[in-house]
């Protein structure tokens, strides 16, 4: 069973990738890839009071979502959304855990409502005034491939475009020792029922392990630094704009086979 979806817009933010448009040449191998610290912009779409409350994971998600949706030309409030993150807003979770173990044990109400895994989706909905359905997924190291699969499922089942956003930032100490994430990374795709400006993706779920495609050394290091960066082989294929066939690992016993057709 193959899920066939178009790609109408792409957003990207990560070390050395300051947006999809800026990153495209390096991803395609046409320019050198130079990792650099990520500047995460404050979410200009949100009113100032809400903007102040957002953490780095939410800001990263909104930044790539904004870029992808702008490129697609689809009004943001018309898109169902699938958000995927393995770590969520770790700094909020760590802050609450710290407060729970402090003498007075008091936690802030804002921190609590920001601790939900769907915080990014919630702020996106507020930012663009959307009442469209939204789902937020976990997925540990397989978070990108799982989210992509589920977003494609929604496009095929619902016959309407879907905004897919995968985003992860490093966890603060002491949680970082339990789950190492070395750099922020986020990618967004606007997926459509028909072929988009970036062509078509055909996705198939397979039981059984698969080799993830090789990457140049610096990009391979980035792939190991953030679960969402496992999207890099697919992003490189989209940047080259040529037909490509690759595997994205799911759990230890399964994978997503991806064919990109420009």
């Amino acid at each position: 069973m193959t899920l066939s979806v178009g790609v109408a817009g792409i957003g990207l933010l990560g070390p050395g990738f300051a947006g999809w448009a800026a990153a495209r040449a390096a991803l395609a191998g046409a320019a050198p890839f130079e990792p650099a610290p990520v500047a995460i912009p404050p979410p200009a779409l949100l009113p100032p009071t809400e903007r102040r409350r957002t953490g780095p994971s939410v800001r990263l998600a909104i930044a790539v979502a904004t870029e992808a949706v702008q490129e697609s030309g689809i009004p943001p409030e018309e898109l169902d959304t699938v958000f995927a993150s393995s770590n969520g807003e770790g700094q909020v979770i760590a802050g609450i855990l710290e407060a729970l173990h402090a003498a007075d044990g008091a936690i802030s109400p804002t921190q609590f409502h920001n601790s939900v895994h769907n915080a990014a989706a919630g702020y996106w909905g507020i930012a663009v005034g959307s009442s469209r359905p939204s789902v937020s997924l976990g997925g540990h190291d397989q978070v990108f491939a799982t989210g992509l699969m589920q977003a494609a499922v929604q496009v095929v089942a619902g016959g309407a475009p879907v905004l897919f956003v995968a985003h992860d930032v490093p966890l603060p100490p002491p949680l970082d020792a339990m789950r190492a994430t070395a750099a922020p990374f986020a990618a967004a795709l606007v997926l459509t029922p028909q072929r988009g400006a970036h062509g078509l993706l055909r996705l198939a779920y397979h039981a059984g392990t698969a080799e993830e495609p090789p990457l140049p050394e610096a990009m391979a290091a980035l792939r190991a630094a953030n679960p969402v960066a496992r999207a890099l082989p697919l992003l490189a294929a989209l940047a080259r704009g040529q037909a490509a066939s690759l595997c994205l690992a799911l759990l230890e016993d399964s994978h997503l086979a991806v064919e990109a057709a420009p």
Binding site: S86, L100, P174
Partner: protein, 394 residues
């Protein structure tokens, strides 16, 4: 996408372990809430604690998953012939053609809370299996391994709609042809983060929660695990229990306060009815989200009244179970199935009369009635809304 057959459904919460105990608690109006006796929790609150789960251990090969959330999930999986029903589905479709799609808000974070209390002088956490306990993917990974399935594995975390949303996302997977069946539902367990979190918002009730009461004073937090097995419905399934429709929406309004007029709630309910091809009058009972807070219940009453007037009986069953957060949508889907099978409208527990300002048909006493279709609501932080229609398959 709809209808889908519900081949098996099971629920475990403070109101009962398994469906028969849950049904008996509803019939006898015997709630599962009690004063909170867990250490380190806010004072003076009631909780829905599942003591039976605390001594349950996962099978040895999966011991690394042991945590409060896994124990409760394991206890729930053992009820109502659920393991055998999945085994039969595995024989029919193959292990790779059955998805596991489960919701949770906090997964096994209780394990990290315990570890945090034992941090070393340098602040470092003691060793524990973060990936198989705290991580959101731990729940569906455990259930998938426990059921010996190898299909797609999805963890959903949309706060208090997680368990309901799992039904909708799995339905899309079946409709898209990715799988032939899905194990859906959710599990969420008591932890300090959620109790103190709702405490910080001043939303915890002083006694057992009393949704829809005029003097309701907030939520009682509970824990639950509930699972269902979904498959395409065939001609032989008429009259059996199924998922007839599902709808979702976002408020786009505020992170923790619902839109006061309930626009998002109305959109989710309307979406569920439309997907089922049903008009409001086809619904025999509405199982409310009904958390017992002033704001939620008032908003939900307005939303229900906008669609149904006062014609359809509605109630919240959280007076029995407490608010089981990311599991509540799945628990209440199982309760909806019980209401259809047993012909029961369970009136809100511990409520003498509904809030006189309410315009919907709030039930406060049990009544026997033929119920063919139940609409079940779930709403959550981040403005997430989801509604399911559970009922007899046409």
């Amino acid at each position: 996408m709809f209808p889908l057959a519900i081949r098996a459904i099971t629920a475990t919460s403070a109101m009962g372990t398994g469906r028969a105990a849950t049904a008996a608690a509803l019939r006898d109006r015997r709630g599962g809430l009690a004063p909170c006796d867990l250490a380190g929790m806010p004072g003076g609150v009631w909780i829905g604690r599942v003591r039976d789960a605390e001594a349950v251990e996962p099978p040895a090969p999966l011991a690394a998953f042991a945590c409060r959330n896994t124990r409760l999930a394991e206890l729930a999986l053992r009820q109502d012939g659920f393991l055998a029903a999945v085994e039969a589905a595995r024989a029919r479709h193959g292990a790779a053609r059955i998805a596991v799609v489960l919701g949770t808000s906090t997964s096994g974070i209780e394990e990290t809370e315990r570890a945090w209390a034992r941090r070393g002088p340098d602040g470092a956490l003691p060793a524990y299996d973060f990936e198989r306990t705290h991580d959101l993917h731990a729940l569906p990974r455990y259930v998938r391994a426990r059921l010996r399935l190898s299909g797609p594995c999805v963890s959903i975390s949309t706060a208090c709609t997680s368990g309901a949303r799992a039904f909708l996302d799995a339905a899309a997977m079946i409709a898209a042809g990715l799988v032939d069946a899905a194990v859906v539902g959710g599990a969420d367990t008591l932890c300090r983060l959620t109790l103190h979190g709702f405490g910080s918002l001043e939303l915890l009730a002083k006694g057992p929660t009393r949704p829809c009461a005029e003097d309701r004073d907030g939520i009682s937090i509970g824990e639950a695990a509930a699972f269902a097995l979904l498959e395409r419905a065939g001609p032989g399934d008429a009259g059996g229990i199924g998922l007839l429709g599902a709808g979702a929406s976002s408020d786009g309004h505020h992170m923790s306060s619902p839109h006061p007029d309930g626009h998002g709630a109305v959109a989710a309910m309307r979406g569920a009815l439309d997907s089922a091809g049903l008009r409001p009058e086809a619904i025999g009972y509405v199982n409310m989200h009904g958390t017992g807070t002033r704001a939620n219940d008032a908003m939900e009453d307005r939303a229900i009244a906008a669609l149904f007037g006062a014609a359809v009986p509605c109630s919240s069953t959280k007076g029995w179970s407490g608010h089981t957060l990311g599991a509540s949508g799945a628990l209440e889907a199982a309760i909806a199935a019980i209401c259809v099978e047993d012909g029961l409208v369970p009136g809100c527990l511990g409520v003498d009369r509904p809030d006189p300002a309410f315009a919907s048909g709030i039930a406060v006493a049990n009544r026997a009635a033929r119920i063919d279709r139940v609409l079940s609501n779930s709403f959550g932080f981040g403005g997430s809304n989801c509604a399911l229609v559970i009922g007899r398959l046409p």
